[in-house]
């Protein structure tokens, strides 16, 4: 975004910036680039595209559920929509957005000239469009796209799946490779390229949370790769990992999947914690309260994520001891998470607060993510979970933590750093409009799901009992409004890329602190070629 033109400040700041080593013009510039800012931009734009594609699938789901009975789509296609919506949003929208932010920000925050492994960086991005082309192409095949849910439980994904399963498996392999390479790059960069004086306990929290996320990625993405490989060989090569007929066990699929799956949900929220920890101090004009406890809380959440996976499987039948262990270990996560929420609140306490769009999204994150956390605690209670399992209550829970959690944090991050990327302030009036429209509609969309879930409406079913009709119509209207609200976001970004707006200062925000705010806006193509000294 920031790199389409030579920036005047870049010339004065860097003697050798007469040419800034961009690879050729046109498309090859983006194909061959190894620059962390270019690759960050590519990741973010890709994720924006996927956010809208996944959003369209969600609109199909909500349109079908607007009224009871089957109106628009067949059940099989409805299942394809829920499956693709989940896969696209998790692996195509949220994760690449965080990787894009890491690419843009980690080197600038630690005073590094670029990511440590720039060519691998290029590769890890360019795998993604191929992966999602393969995944989306299944929509146009005989038998349609995968329909086993984003969790692709066996035997749904093995015995009862269509031939697009092979495409699905290959797509997941590719995006897994991409994620692992991205994570390795982040770790090597943070370990080896910190500027002199940038000690571990001076790292900005976004960098800390991403470092821990990167370790989680390296630990569990190979497990996902193993899981889909077993699905592939079970379906096509006669193995019986998950098939009782050959001595396997379908429950084992769930163990392996959730051993990946639970750390995965923290992969999608830890960088969000880092973003909110950057934004709140800026607009409260106070340093972050409890920096060290934030680091320890993040680490303990990451550790705990490996010993809670069976809380997804309470109803599969397990000994009471195991149910108690996983119930308590799950509830334990509320402690470090609570530390974080209290730290954010304490940061704002008696601060000189202003409420620009990034701060509004960060505040909404804190409140709404906490609601999602509380419904998570309810789900952790074993006897209650037998009632909530597989209902819309679960859907409400994970959309509160993923949409008003992860997605809101990404949107906040975009508003917060957009002036640094483009050199102009975004349109604040449109930003506030985007915020209020999103806030109202997202709660219309997800809050009533708690009630229909508690009343027993099952998830992943295209039809429902008549008693849920009014609630579902209301939810669908909220869904359409939330989808439309995101067009305002698109307009804001479009205006900023076109450089329509007031020129941003280097510091951009009055209360902003950190190395990325010491360089010019827009950030020149090359930054920190001579490492800064951090006091």
């Amino acid at each position: 975004m920031s790199t389409n033109e030579h920036s005047a400040t870049a010339h004065t700041d860097h003697d050798h910036a007469h040419h800034d080593h961009k690879p050729g013009g046109g498309i090859t510039r983006w194909l061959y680039t190894t620059n962390h800012k270019d690759i960050g931009t590519l990741y973010l734009l890709f994720s924006l595209l996927m956010f809208f594609i996944g959003g369209i699938f969600a609109m199909v789901i909500r349109a079908e559920l607007f009224q009871p009975g089957l109106q628009l789509v067949q059940p099989q296609f409805f299942n394809q929509m829920t499956t693709l919506h989940g896969l696209i949003m998790v692996f195509g929208a949220v994760m690449p957005a965080f990787v894009g932010l890491a690419n843009w920000l980690v080197p600038m925050m630690i005073g590094a000239p670029d990511m440590a492994l720039p060519r691998m960086n290029n590769w890890s991005f360019w795998i993604l469009p191929f992966s999602f082309t393969i995944l989306l192409s299944t929509l146009f095949m005989d038998g349609g796209a995968p329909a086993a849910g984003w969790t692709f439980y066996a035997p749904l994904s093995t015995k009862y799946s269509g031939d697009s399963t092979a495409f699905f498996v290959f797509a997941v392999h590719l995006l897994g490779i991409s994620s692992i390479m991205g994570a390795m790059n982040v770790i090597v960069t943070i370990f080896n390229l910190r500027a002199p004086g940038m000690t571990w306990m001076k790292l900005p929290l976004f960098v800390w949370t991403w470092l821990i996320t990167a370790f989680l990625l390296i630990a569990v993405m190979p497990v996902l790769a193993g899981t889909v490989t077993m699905v592939l060989t079970d379906k096509y090569f006669g193995t019986s990992f998950f098939d009782a007929a050959g001595g396997g066990d379908p429950i084992m699929f769930q163990h392996i999947f959730w051993f990946f799956g639970h750390p995965e949900v923290y992969i999608m929220i830890l960088p969000a914690f880092g973003i909110v920890s950057s934004i709140v101090p800026t607009f409260a004009r106070k340093p972050l309260f409890g920096y060290e406890s934030m680091v320890w809380a993040t680490s303990s959440i990451a550790f705990l994520s490996f010993i809670v996976w069976m809380h997804h499987m309470f109803t599969t039948g397990m000994p009471v001891t195991a149910e108690l262990f996983f119930m308590y270990s799950t509830m334990l996560i509320a402690v470090p998470t609570g530390v974080k929420v209290f730290n954010w609140v304490a940061t704002m306490w008696r601060g000189a607060m202003t409420f620009e769009t990034p701060m509004m999204f960060a505040l909404a994150f804190i409140v709404l993510f906490t609601i999602g956390g509380f419904s998570g605690l309810m789900l952790a209670i074993v006897p209650a979970d037998f009632q909530y399992q597989d209902t819309y209550f679960v859907v409400a829970h994970f959309h509160y933590v993923l949409v008003t959690g992860a997605v809101f944090s990404i949107v906040a991050a975009v508003y917060y750093w957009l002036p640094k990327w483009t050199g102009v302030m975004y349109d604040e009036r449109l930003g506030q409009l985007h915020f209020w429209c999103s806030l109202v509609s997202v709660n219309m969309l997800f809050f009533p799901m708690h009630f229909v879930g508690l009343a027993g409406m099952p998830r992943r079913i295209p039809d429902y009992a008549l008693q849920f009709a009014n609630f579902n119509a209301f939810i669908s209207i909220g869904g359409f409004l939330f989808g439309l609200s995101q067009l305002i976001f698109l307009a804001v970004i479009f205006k900023a890329i076109r450089r329509k707006g007031v020129k941003a200062t280097d510091q951009v925000w009055e209360g902003a602190e950190g190395l990325e705010w010491t360089i010019p806006s827009p950030a020149p193509y090359h930054t920190f070629e001579t490492p800064p000294h951090v006091k």
Binding site: L117, M184, N192, P222, V223, G238, A244, H255
Partner: protein, 169 residues
């Protein structure tokens, strides 16, 4: 400069991939030791030395045929009442409805899962593959007892068989 760290990270990734596959035998051994997933031992047990005449356990039988094989399969009695330690025989009738020869394998599962390790089979058709000629039918024998160590709160044990077709690989 970056390579040593990168290789270590690659090694972690490779180990985790291998770990996924190591989970399979680990899980099977774990479940066999604890009987958690309702799997029973796949070899014959020796008879119990004592019979607990004070207790009565209701043992129920379920027989399911996988859609891969057009046979009928049913226990001769749906339910028996036994004393722990008492040896019983129950026969299951199978019939091949097609006119071609087929081989089947029955896969057992016990519910509640915790009772699996106390369900002792001395002789079972599920230990071996069962061939049938076209249109042939036969009785298959199960000889079992319930281990007297079965926890006192368990009053009913359900043994479920699913019959799968065995296709030569």
């Amino acid at each position: 400069m970056h390579k040593p760290l990168l290789y270590k990270l690659l090694l972690i990734g490779a180990c985790m991939f291998a770990f996924t596959f190591a989970l399979i035998p680990f899980y099977s051994v774990f479940c066999k030791l604890t009987g958690l997933n309702g799997k029973t031992a796949n070899s014959s047990a020796i008879a119990a030395t004592t019979v607990d005449l004070q207790r009565e356990i209701s043992v129920e039988f379920l027989a399911t045929v996988d859609k891969s094989i057009p046979w009928t399969f049913a226990p001769e009695v749906p339910r028996v009442t036994v004393h722990p330690g008492e040896v019983r025989v129950v026969n299951f009738r199978v019939e091949n409805l097609t006119s071609e020869a087929m081989i089947a394998q029955a896969v057992p599962s016990v519910s509640p899962g915790q009772a699996a390790q106390f369900f002792k089979k001395m002789e079972c058709f599920c230990f071996t593959q069962q061939p049938l000629q076209g249109k042939e039918s036969k009785l298959m024998r199960l000889q079992f007892y319930i281990d007297p160590a079965l926890p006192a709160e368990t009053k009913t044990v359900t043994l479920s068989y699913t019959l799968y077709r065995v296709v030569a690989q």
